[in-house]
Every structure is written in C-alpha cells, then in structure tokens.
C-alpha cells in the first residue's frame, strides 16, 4: 500500500518547522523560502494550512514536462524532478492545478515534494502531528483526488 | 465541614455542576480530609494535579497526603502550567 501525506490544518500552529526540515533536506540550509512544503495562513479563521504536492495520479506536471524530467518513484508513488534533465521551461508550474511544483529562479529548475524517498522530513519534525504519512486510502485525500479529476481535461471517460 | 475546592485550566471539567463561581465548588467533607484524599474522592487525575495550594500555600506531594483540611479552607489545584 502506498502512503501519502495527510495534512490536518486544525492541528497546525504555523511554526514553520516543516519548512525548515524540508529546506535543510533539499537545500542544505534552513530556508523556509525554498521549502517544498508551504504553510498558508488564514488569519480570519485563525488557521494555518501546510500545503504540498499530493503526488496525484494524474500527474499533470509529469505529463506536461517536455523533456522527460519528471518521473515516478515506483516505491513511493512520488513524482520526482530530475534537476539534471529539467531545462527550466516552467510548463509544469502552470499545468499543475494545485500549484505545488514551483520554479526556483536562482537554480533555473523546478522543485517539488518527493516524499523524501518514503521518509518525509516534514512529518518527522512536525511537533503537533499536523502532517502525517499514512496509507493512501486513509488519508482522506480522496477529496484532493476528486479535485484532481475535476481538473482533468477529459470530462468523462466511458470505456467501450 | 464545608471547604472550597478550586479547580483550574483542564481540571475545571471535574467541578460539580452546581459551582459557586467559574472555578469554585463548596463541598461538605468529613473531618480529617487531606488534599490527597480529596483528589481521590473527586476522581481527579492525580498526575494532572501538579500545583496544589491550601489557602494559597503550596503543598509538597508529601504534605498533600498528611495535611488535614480545616473548615473553610480552600484547596486550589492546577495541572502543569506556566506563564511569563
């Protein structure tokens, strides 16, 4: 059973530890600005929402990549960007309807969550268990997938 | 004899329904009651009874076992808390 990230906004305090862990794992420096996971603030609701790629089955980014730079990690299901192959054309950044693959101007490459090979740093560091790595069925990311399906350009698929 | 039991923070839910104010219950207890016995009788989670004051004076865990509560005394209890 593949696992996926489950975010529980009601538990998030907005402390940035996930962003710090992510940036250190990927950029070798504490640098929330370069984290693959981002916390969005909803001051009116007093909510913080950790947000990153759900590794959707549709994989808009992967399909849109013109140079085969995004591939699936068969073990985790993560869609992974090869920095070597990425030319920085940014097509994936507008193709992904979730906005979770982003261009980094200083490196000229796109970056996204790769689930850290199956041991996500954000999950390990979160002090409030607002980010979990659990069996995909249990994540309730069915809702995300539902939204993913809604963005599919094929509005209906009827097998013959 | 009548004593006051004051519960705060997460312990408030252990107050009886008919409280004198937000935190205080006036209880009729037998003579010779100790804070430890009170905690047991009221089914308060012992590990959450972190700060126990008898009339505003701190009782060590040992004193909670032995100190006898007198008529009109107030026992105030808090879970682990801090501030600053």
């Amino acid at each position: 059973m593949q696992k996926s990230l489950l975010m529980i906004p009601s538990k998030c305090t907005g402390c940035s530890q996930c962003e710090l862990a992510c940036s250190y794992a990927k950029e070798e420096a504490f640098n929330a600005a370069k984290s693959r996971i981002k916390i969005f603030d909803f001051p009116e609701k007093s909510r913080h929402v950790p947000y990153t790629c759900t590794q959707c089955a549709e994989a808009w980014c992967m399909k849109a990549c013109p140079v085969d730079a995004i591939s699936e990690d068969k073990k985790t299901g993560a869609k992974i960007v090869s920095a070597e192959l990425c030319v920085g054309c940014k097509v994936c950044t507008i193709a992904c309807p979730f906005g979770t693959i982003n261009y980094q101007q200083d490196t000229g490459k796109v970056v996204k969550c790769d689930l850290c090979g199956g041991d996500p740093e954000c999950v390990k560091i979160c002090p409030t268990e607002a980010i979990l790595y659990v069996n995909a069925d249990a994540t309730g990311d069915a809702r995300m997938r539902e939204w993913a399906a809604k963005s599919d350009e094929a509005s209906d698929v009827t097998p013959n | 004899m009548n004593i006051k039991l004051k519960l705060y923070a997460s312990l408030m839910r252990y107050l009886p329904d008919d409280v004198a104010d937000r935190h205080t219950a006036v209880l009729n207890v037998p003579e010779g009651m100790t804070p430890a016995k009170l905690i047991e009788d009221r089914k308060l989670p012992k590990e959450s009874c972190f700060l126990v004051l008898l009339n505003g004076v701190y009782l060590t865990p040992a004193e909670r076992e032995t100190r006898q509560i007198q008529e009109g005394d107030a026992v105030a209890i808090w879970p682990p808390i801090a501030g600053g």
């Binding site: 399909k63 849109a64 140079v67 906005g99 809702r143 009827t158 | -």
Partner: protein, 412 residues
C-alpha cells in the same frame, strides 16, 4: 488495427504512448518529420544558451523507449492524404495505409512578406537545425535583430541576450507579447527588457533586409537602418496542414476537430498545434502550447482506440521567462462583458496580478514576477472552483489566490 500518427512532437508521442497502453497488440507507427528523435521545441532556447545539449530536448530519455512499447518510429514528411482509401503519402513516395490516423504535425514559423528574409544570416529559431545555424552568429560583440516579440520571440530573447549579443527586438504591435499579455504587462516586460540592455522597438515594422559588407545584414526599420550579424524571425507560426489540400479535411487556422478531436473525416483525428480544438473558455481555438498538445494526444488516442472520451476543452495558458522576468497568462485575462476584474500592480518591483471573473468563477489571470503556486490559477479556472466569499476577497486582494484555492477545495 493499424494506427498511424504523423508528427512526433509532444501530441504525437503522447498519443502513441496512450495507444500502446489502451490498444495493446495494435500496430502503432509514429512518423517524425525531422531527422532527430522526437524532441521538444520548448527546450530549444536552452540548447541555444548551451545549458543543455541537443539530447536534452528529447521528449523521452529512456533507451529503446518507443521500441519497448511497440511504437515504430520512422522519419518522413507527409505529402498528401487520401481519406477515401485511408492512405498517407510521404515525401519519399512511400504510402502508408492506416485504419486510424492522427495528425499531429504541429506548426511552422511564418516568414512575413519582407524583402530579404531569404538572405543568409536570416534564421528562424524553431528547430534544432536552426539552433545549429544561429549559434555561431551570436555572442559578445555580435549584433542581432529579433523580429517579433510574441511568445516565441520572447522565449528566444533570453537565450540571445545571454549569449552576450547586442540585441534589438522589433515588434509590429504596440507592446511585447501582445497575444499573451495586456498593455500593462506588455509594457512592463518591455521596460524590464530595456533595463536588461535590450533595445525594444514596438509598433515598428521591418521594411527590408539587405546584404551589407563582411557578410553582415542591413535591416531597414522604416527609415532607420541597422547593420547586424544575425536576423532571427519569430513572427508567428501556422499549422502544418498544407498536405491536407484535396483530402477533404476541413482546415481553417487549424484543422477542425469535434469534441472528440476527430476531424471531418471519420477515421482521422488531429491533435496539438495543428488542431483547432475545443476551447474551455468558449468556441474553438488553436492553443499551441505543450500541455494542450499532450492532452490532445492522449484524448485523441483514447477516442481512436474506441474509448469514447469527450474533451472539455483546453485552457489557454502560458508561462514566459523574459530575461528573468517571469509572466503567466491563463484563460480570458482580458475579461468578458458583464464580468469583473481585479488588479494588483507594483511597477517598481515588476509585480502584477490581474484576475478576471464571471459570476462565481475566475475565468482568466495574468501574473508578472511570480513563480510560486501559479498553477493554482489553472486549478481555479479550469476545474472550475466556485469562489463563494473568496470572490470579494480576491477582488480586494488578488494575490491571495492560493489561499482562495486551498480554502475552497480543502477542509480547513
């Protein structure tokens, strides 16, 4: 079943792969018009800058990718099509029989009717071959004129600038990237380019190009003349559909298809830059962009394989990096009658967001100077996401579109 796919760009390759998966055991023939393995034009500028080699543009990097999927990849150019006897004739005279055909021949650059564009030293920047030809003519101290500051011109611009050449861009319309940007954003991109040392001449037409001394070229800018080493023409593209003449297949500014991407002929489909497909924002359009090409390819292939798959239409969207200033445009960024719009402009910082709405939905967006989470704009518009109370919030603060998306699509 024999499937022939003519044109080995992203649409053709996506179609071939989809067929390989869904129509197992069929014969799949992918015909590419250029001698190289299937490659992406999106990556062309990066070959010009040298940041990748030619193989960096290849659509698939795995060895034997096509063979392993029983996709036969052959080189050839379509010469004509006979729908009556289901035959495609190639330039070498070879005739290919098909049961289902997909036309994914893409587009080619236009040469505007300007005298002198046939001279040596005048190039497009469209194919790998073009890049090889241009490369030696750029660099420190070289003078280059780029004709056309549309989407493609602007992409090439960065590569030419990076080579160290003295660059002049000539655009006939009154702003840069006229079809992808509005006046505000177009002007900002122009100002940015000028800041980067590019001479940008908008509302200017090239009257002619003539040979000058030392193999250089003299470009007539309508009175004002400039001598350069290289002229790059990026004045638009048109579909590769000439070979369909006489086939009976209907072509306007693209091959007409229905909402299953089928052409006017029953067993012929079209996809990608050559097809005028359903436009999510209404009507029918040629959306010559990578994501549409891939979606076209996939959906056409499903329909060809008998999986009836209606297409809800492609959304126009572009992302552009003009000398480091990144811009995106999605959907109907000009807005529609009876709709609403919101803008957030900071000219000093080269930041701009414009959102357009109709009723409860976002229908278009422009951004300048933003790279994070821009995909959400597509999500909001294309899903589409009902905005509810966020409509008013976005009207007041358009930058909060990610929050709007999260709040409206997730339980928070």
């Amino acid at each position: 079943m024999t499937y022939v796919i003519v044109g080995a760009g992203p649409a053709g390759v996506a179609a071939a792969e989809t067929l390989a998966k869904t129509a197992k055991g069929s014969e799949i023939i992918l015909v590419g018009g250029e001698p190289e393995p299937p490659y992406s034009r999106m990556a062309i500028p990066y070959v010009l800058t040298g940041s990748v080699g030619e193989d960096g543009t290849y659509l698939r990097k795995t060895e034997n990718w096509y063979e392993d999927r029983n996709i036969r990849y052959i080189h050839g150019r379509a010469e004509s099509l006979s729908t009556g006897d289901s035959a495609l004739r190639l330039a070498r005279g070879e005739e290919m029989k098909f049961e289902k055909l997909l036309i994914s021949t893409g587009a080619r650059p236009i040469k505007p009717p300007v005298p002198g564009l046939d001279l040596e030293g005048v190039h497009h920047c469209w194919t790998l071959e073009d890049v090889r030809n241009i490369k030696g003519l750029t660099g420190e101290g070289k003078d280059v004129i780029l004709i056309g500051a549309g989407f493609i011109g602007s992409i090439i611009l960065e590569a030419l600038l990076e080579s160290g050449s003295n660059l002049t861009v000539v655009e006939a319309e009154d702003r840069m990237v006229p079809r992808m940007m509005n006046q505000v954003a177009g002007n900002m991109i122009k100002a940015w380019c000028e800041k980067k040392g590019v001479t940008v001449l908008t509302s200017t037409r090239v009257a002619g190009v003539a040979q000058a001394d030392g193999g250089r070229l003299e470009v007539d800018l309508g009175g004002n003349k400039k001598t350069v080493d290289l002229v790059v023409v990026a004045a638009g593209v048109k579909p590769n559909a000439d070979f369909l003449e006489g086939s009976g297949i209907e072509v306007e500014d693209g091959i007409l298809v229905d909402n299953h991407l089928k052409t006017s002929a029953d067993n012929v489909y079209a996809a990608g830059d050559c097809a005028k497909g359903p436009d999510y924002s209404g009507g029918w359009s040629v959306h010559a962009i990578q994501p549409t090409a891939v979606e076209h390819g996939r959906i056409a292939a499903l329909n060809m394989a008998g999986q009836v798959t209606p297409y809800k239409g492609s959304l126009q969207m572009n992302v552009l990096d003009t000398a480091g200033l990144i811009s995106t445009s999605v959907g109907l960024f000009d807005g529609v009658e009876g709709g609403e719009e919101a803008e957030d402009l900071n000219e000093q910082r080269f930041k701009y967001i414009r959102l357009t709405f109709k009723g409860d939905y976002m229908i278009g967006a422009l951004t300048l100077g933003r790279t994070d989470q821009v995909g959400v704009l597509r999500g909001l518009i294309h899903t589409p996401v009902s905005l509810g109370p966020w409509k008013q919030k976005l009207m007041a603060d358009p930058a909060k579109f990610v929050e709007a998306y999260i709040d409206r699509t997730q339980v928070i």
